[in-house]
Every structure is written in C-alpha cells, then in structure tokens.
C-alpha cells in the first residue's frame, strides 16, 4: 500500500486493480453494473454468440428508461421498434438472470435516478453503465463512468474492464450561492469556463465549501454533467450528508455491515498533501443563473449576459463553430438571451428530475399559469419520484398551472421516445445537452436550471427567475 498522499480517485483505483501488467492497461474490478435497453442488446448477443454467462448477475441491475413512453405505462406501446427493444431487454434479463425494474415495476426510472434512490450507489464503488451520464453516481464518492457496448459485454462476462488510470482535476467551489442560483448553474458555469473538452482524460473531484453545503441531489446534478466538461467521471468525497442519504435504503448495508462500510468510506476522502493534475476555483458568491445559447453545453452565459459575437474571436475554427451555432439557433450576437421567446419547457432528465428539482419547479408554478404559447413537460426521474411528487401534491400544482406531468423516463432529453421538439422550436430544458437536434430534429435547446425553466414557462420567454 502506497504511503504517498492520494486523491480519492487514486484510492478507489488502487482498491480495484485486479491485475496490472506492463504494456497492458490495468484490469479493474467493477462493483456495480447498471444496464438499460439501448446500449445492451448487442452486448448480450455477444455473450450468446460466444456461449458466455454473466459472471456476477448479483452485481448487475437493469431498468428501462431511454426508449420508454412517458404516457401511462398500462397503455400499449405504439412505437413497434421501441417496443421490440424493451421486449429484448425483458428476454435478456430473464435469460441471463438479471434483476430488471421494467415498466410495471414501481422502482423503474432513469438508471441514474434509480440507482441512488435504491441505495445501490455507495461510496468507494466502481460503477459503470452504457451511458455517459454514469458520473452522476460520483456524487456518493464512487468512481462511476460511462462505457460503450463492447465494454458492457466485457463487464457482463468478466465483471472487469481494462482501464488506464485517470488524472484528478480539482474543481473547488467556494462561497455562498445567491437566491435563484442552483447546482445546475454551478456546473454550467464550470463547463462554460473550461470548455467541453477541458476535462479530457481526467476525473473531476468537486470540492470546496459550496459543494460541502449541497444536498445529495444537488451533488448528483453537478457530477451528472462531468462528461459535458469532457471528463471521464466526476465525484464528491463522501461526508455525513452522503451517509445520511444512504442509510436505510433498500440496498444499503445494515447493522454491523453498515458500521464496517462506514469505516471504509471514511478512509476515502483525498489525503492532505495529495497533488492534483489540474485545479480550478469558482466563486459561488458571484454566480448568476446560467443559460446556454449555442449547440454545445460549453456555450453558456449568465442570464444577464450577452450572446457572444464571432467578430471578437480570432481562432478561425472556433469562430466558424460559433457562427454555425448561432445560425442553427437563429440568434443574433451581442444581445441578451433573456427575453427570447420559447415554445417548450422540459423539466426532467438524469440531471434534474429528482424530487428537489420538481419541488423547485413547483415553487415557481404554484398559483401561476404557464404561458398559453408554451408546452410544458414535467417528467419525473423515476416511479418513486413520481409517487413522492404526488404525495406532496406537486402533480396538482403542475397540472393547475397548465403543465403536463408524465411517467418516468429520459423523455425529451434525447427524444428517442416520441417526446420531442418540432423543427425550429425553442425549449428551455433542464437536461444536459443542447446539441443540434438532440431534443428533436431541428429543435433548439437552452439548458438551464429547474427554477429558470419554470420561470420561463410562466412568462413564455427566457427569464431570470429572480425577476419574477
């Protein structure tokens, strides 16, 4: 065991090395493998073709989220291709002995909402999923990252992956968030600062007084978008907030096992004197609500800011990319985005579909009506979130305001399931990507927090929630 001071990332790595041979990437053990219907069918087929079993079905769990309709789950699924994919997931999980939370399960939900809420996500774990937003689970001090379908097959068959170690990139956020400014604004500000490739080959460790003060759900929002900063993963060292969240959940350790787990978890935080490959400090006091104007998540500005002007950019490709983005978005440079008319508001996705996100949106919509020109979708992250929202009467607040409150799933975040923008429509969306066509062919996305999204739903234009 090394006596050098180590970062939390290095500690988790060291704990999971199965073999490390020269000239070959290390073989790393995976503690939890989350599966969904979109990125696994070809991996199960590989297992069938090669006569292999799933090595640890007891460390593998599946749900359905990406291609699932958000209309009531007892209705027939009209999309035959999507239905075939869901049926294949049922068959694969049955054939290989994997626990599945299907559409009839009250635990079904977006894989990155379901895992933490069931207590599956725990500090110090290695967690993978065929989904780039797996970093969400890093909020618990786990090393969690997205993998491709070939790797899904490798983990199913061996419970391992071949990996190169990552550099640790410290992102310190210090100070107090002002009213109306949220975790989503922190991560959008980080990405705007470092760019969408800024974290390549790194794992972000989010640290500092602001992060320490955040709830688990807020930490999940931040870790979720680590990939949008180009990082392999992002995490927050566990603390009492983490332990309190996990305690008592279905898959959390109990009794003596809890005490032993807690003792292990408390060893995880980065040692005094450990070195980071890169560091960035952000002042939370001066942050404003953030909103993106362009076609990647790094193209973000404070709500009071102006859309940047390509005339001020010297790099020719960067300049042409900005021109291309503004053309796609049909926006003029040098003017505020605030006040721009919108057609749709989407509150949902693995970034912002948890109960606190729904409470935030409801706090704005309560007693108000959404602008009649705006279609508003509120999509809870899981059946459990939906149930909780209904218990608190949030569903009534949304419906009375004129918003649509739907079944759990990824929905309009990636528009695979029929929930989508029409060509040319503008949306304020609490999701994580504003790529061209991401929310529907020809659709245009402004990424923002649930507060900003709800405020914009009321006014019908991009709105500073602090002005309501």
């Amino acid at each position: 065991m090394s006596t050098q001071p180590r970062t939390i990332v290095e500690k988790i790595w060291d704990n999971h090395v199965v073999t490390a041979q020269p000239g070959v990437p290390a073989l790393i053990y995976i503690d939890l493998h989350l599966c969904h219907e979109v990125t696994t069918p070809q991996a199960f087929q590989t297992l069938r073709d090669r006569g292999l079993k799933v090595r640890r079905p007891d460390l593998t769990i599946a749900t359905m989220d990406h291609s699932t309709p958000t209309t009531p789950h007892n209705l027939p699924i009209l999309d035959t291709v999507g239905k075939a994919q869901l049926d294949q997931m049922e068959k694969n999980c049955a054939d290989f002995g994997i626990r599945l939370y299907n559409l009839q399960s009250d635990k079904q939900g977006i894989v990155h909402v379901m895992g933490p809420e069931q207590g599956l996500t725990q500090p110090g774990m290695t967690i993978v999923c065929g989904d780039s937003h797996t970093a969400t689970h890093g909020a618990f001090g786990a090393l969690a990252f997205g993998i491709g379908t070939s790797q899904v097959g490798q983990v199913l068959a061996t419970q391992c992956l071949l990996q190169q170690p990552s550099k640790t990139y410290a992102i310190r956020v210090e100070g107090k968030l002002q009213p109306g400014v949220t975790a989503k604004d922190i991560i959008l500000a980080v990405i705007a600062k470092i760019g969408i490739g800024g974290g390549t080959e790194c794992v972000f460790e989010y640290t500092g007084s602001t992060i320490r003060g955040l709830s688990m759900e807020e930490r999940m929002t931040i870790c979720n978008m680590s990939i949008e900063g180009g990082a392999r993963a992002g995490l927050v060292a566990p603390d009492d907030t983490t332990y309190q969240y996990i305690a008592g959940r279905e898959f959390a350790p109990k009794g003596k096992e809890w005490d032993a787990a807690l003792a292990r978890w408390q060893q995880l935080p980065t040692d005094e004197g450990a070195t980071y490959a890169k560091e960035l400090t952000l002042d939370a006091n001066t942050l404003e609500p953030m909103v993106t104007f362009g076609t990647n998540p790094g193209m973000g500005i404070p709500i009071s800011g102006l859309i940047p002007d390509p005339a001020g950019i010297s790099d020719p490709i960067e300049k042409s990319d900005l021109i291309k983005a503004l053309k796609y978005m049909d926006l003029k440079p040098g003017v505020p985005l605030k006040g721009h008319p919108i057609n749709v508001v989407f509150v949902g996705s693995c970034t912002n579909s948890r109960i606190s996100d729904l409470r935030a949106a409801a706090s704005i919509m309560k007693g108000r009506k959404v602008n009649p020109k705006v279609r508003v979708l509120v999509v809870p992250g899981s059946q459990q979130v939906k149930k909780q929202a209904e218990a608190e009467g949030l569903d009534k607040i949304f419906r009375e305001a004129g918003a649509d409150f739907r079944e759990a799933g990824c929905s309009m975040c990636l528009a695979m399931n029929g929930d989508q923008l029409e060509p040319g429509e503008y949306a304020v969306s609490t999701s994580n990507r504003n790529f061209e066509g991401r929310q529907g062919k020809g659709g245009r996305t402004f990424l923002a927090s649930p507060l900003t999204a709800a405020a914009s739903a009321i006014t019908g234009v991009v709105t500073d929630v602090r002005s309501l």
């Binding site: 090669r50 989904d131 491709g148 419970q159």
Partner: protein
C-alpha cells in the same frame, strides 16, 4: 490448463487493421458530437446493422430528404474516402458505440483530429476504427486540402503525407497489439479469470450484492 470455453473465447474476431491508403474527406468543425454522428432516434435497434445509412443524417440530407449538396460527404470527390479529417474533440457526448459502428459501416477506417473524446476513442479502437491524433499544424493543413491521399501505417504509427513526409501518431500499445494481431480484448480478459476469482475472494464481504 485452458478450458474449451477459454479456447473458444480467445478466437481472433477482430479484423486486422494494419495499413490504410485512401484519399481524405474533411469536416472542419470542432466538437462533433455523437448525436450528429448518429442521431438518438436510430438507437432503438437491437443489432449493429444498418447504421451507416444514417451516419450524419441530419447534416447529410435537407429537410425535404434530398442530399445536402454543401455537405462534404456528399461531394462527388468524397466518394470512397476511408479517412475522415475532423476538428478538435471529435466524438464528444454520449457513450453510444453506434457512432463508430456507423462510421465503419459507411466506409471510414480512420478519423484524424487533434483530440478525441475519451469514450469515443475507446469505442473506436474496439471496432478497428483508428482515432489518429495529429499535431495542430499538420491537422490544419489536412483540413485545408481534402482529397489528398494519405497512407496510415499502424505498425510504425505513422501517417505518410503527400510528398513522402511521415508524421508519427500516439496509440495505446495494447489496443495496437490487439488490432495488429487480431486478438479481441474480451478473449484476453476471459483468460484472466483466475486472477479475477482471487480478487473476488480477497474482497469477500466488502462488495455489496443485490441478493
């Protein structure tokens, strides 16, 4: 002693990728994300087939369904190009392996950029699609002169430019070995099963199970 299963799984499955000689086609755009490479609505498939037809679909076709004459891949001169030159941070966004599947099925064997998103790079290598990093000055030249013929040699890790100049590129040594020898990673990993079992025994009691 190897079991029958291990022998079977160590079968060489990956097509050997050693040299590529082809003209290029250029997309001088930074941060080309996987939603552009293959839009999400095509991820409902349960196979790997048919993705090449939908590569860059929303850029390749106009709203009326006709090919976009301004898109580089639609120019007659791009026909048959096996090397794509693209801007920085190619393949950012989602982890979908459908992106390299689509690029390969369309006919590309190598992508040249100044940088690649991590997950895309790994996915590409697992499918014999070479992600080749060139220094910014060479990359800028290649973007300027689409259509020139390049020779890529994986064994020597070099790109030979028009005029005979060669430029080296980095590649993960294990991925290179797998590609040249045609050995697939899963076969290699299955042969590590004794070490995996030993690790599991050592960690017993500290790995939570869903049981």
């Amino acid at each position: 002693m190897k079991t029958d299963t291990q022998e079977k799984t160590a079968t060489k499955l990956v097509t050997k990728t050693v040299t590529i000689e082809s003209k290029t086609v250029a997309l001088p755009i930074e941060n080309i994300d996987t939603d552009q490479i293959i839009p999400a609505r095509f991820l409902k498939t349960t196979s790997m087939e048919g993705l090449g037809d939908n590569l860059f679909l929303d850029w390749r076709y106009l709203p009326d369904g006709s090919p976009n004459p301004d898109f580089a891949l639609n120019k007659p001169s791009a026909k048959g190009a096996e090397i794509l030159i693209a801007g920085d941070n190619f393949g950012c966004g989602s982890s979908r392996e459908h992106a390299p599947w689509a690029l390969k099925q369309y006919g590309f064997k190598a992508i040249i950029s100044t940088s690649f998103a991590d997950i895309f790079k790994g996915n590409a290598l697992k499918n014999g699609l070479l992600p080749i990093i060139m220094p910014p000055d060479i990359h800028a030249e290649l973007l300027k002169w689409p259509g020139i013929v390049l020779k890529i040699d994986l064994a020597t890790q070099t790109v030979t430019l028009a005029g005979g100049r060669t430029v080296e590129f980095p590649i993960d040594p294990f991925a290179k070995q797998c590609l040249i020898e045609g050995v697939d990673e899963l076969g290699y990993m299955l042969n590590q099963q004794p070490a995996i079992a030993a690790y599991e025994a050592k960690r017993a009691g500290t790995v939570n199970t869903l049981a």
